[in-house]
Point group: C2
Chain length 217, copies 2
Amino acid sequence: MAAIALYSDAFWISPWVFSCFVGLREKALPFEVAEVALHKKEQLQGGYAGSTLTGRVPALRHGDFWLAESSAILEYLEEAFPPPGHPRLLPEGLTDRARARQLLSWMRSDETLPIRHERSSETLFYPGSPVRPLSANAQGAAAKLYEVAGRFLPRDDASVFGSWSIVDAELAFLLHRLIAGGDAVPEPLRRYAGAQWLRPSVAQYVAHARVPFVRYF
Amino acid sequence: MAAIALYSDAFWISPWVFSCFVGLREKALPFEVAEVALHKKEQLQGGYAGSTLTGRVPALRHGDFWLAESSAILEYLEEAFPPPGHPRLLPEGLTDRARARQLLSWMRSDETLPIRHERSSETLFYPGSPVRPLSANAQGAAAKLYEVAGRFLPRDDASVFGSWSIVDAELAFLLHRLIAGGDAVPEPLRRYAGAQWLRPSVAQYVAHARVPFVRYF
């Protein structure tokens, strides 16, 4: 099989690298991780921008084929490595799969941006990162997240779609930003996010050794 | 067949409604357009937020199934209405399809946000809309757009993937923001965007009658 590499930020804090890492692990694919020093703008140098076309992280290299954008990478893995050899990342049913893509898109949208901005992802992996109280804008975004997550997870469920999907990993990541920030995450969502963090593919990313953090954004 | 409705902003200026509208027309599906008065926050009222789960426009209703987020709607149309009865919206080949999703995702990302913010989409459809010179930040975003589009469209081609895909409609929309703003769009990209605007599915959206614009964002 053609070799697979995942191009990651050097601090292992990108939510989009996280999602691709978990996707590759869940698909039981062998791959190496190549670190791109975003703090040195390596993504804009050398062949990386040319190979990826957009010069963004994450990127996947599968043999000679390069691909950037996490949502495109997840869909590519789903199509290139289908069941039964490789478990699904998205739900099987047509409408559940559509709903999953809706939530994945929404979590990348402007409506969650205040949370992602004020609860930057290094706070999940570098204890002692400074955290300030949420602005009114981010409080509104968090309230909407709790409301939307409550609609997707109406009961105290272990997964959004009845069995694990990549949506669970991404939703847990977003919730953990607020949990790490000491914010008032509703207890059922807190339990859900905590349980997701124990999943082996996720735990392996979370527990990865990290070099000291250098702010670059 | 179960009835289809597309929920649109009332001024017909949303790039994401545009893409879904074009997708439905290209699939040769009968559908009605239902207008949601975002300027009156109708998307947050009544059953709309509950039905769509996220209270966003566009949304698709197919029988009893509701779905929001344009990228999820396009994928749903692709899966629910496949060839030969319904032409593809995404390229057929695995890697081309992946590349198409990369560009669709990138065009929704923070890297194009300064263009979308400073070249707001009403400027495409409401002649005389005020336009200011681009900030340095948006100039940088436009320069990257020209560079990335040039990588995807290395020659003076009519489409990114050799035959039409939804990527062409969305890329043309993004370029038309700058064309409408009088910005220095490279001539090959200007020709490409102009040609895309003549495609019947696209032209029908562009030429749709519009009520007077009321700013709400």
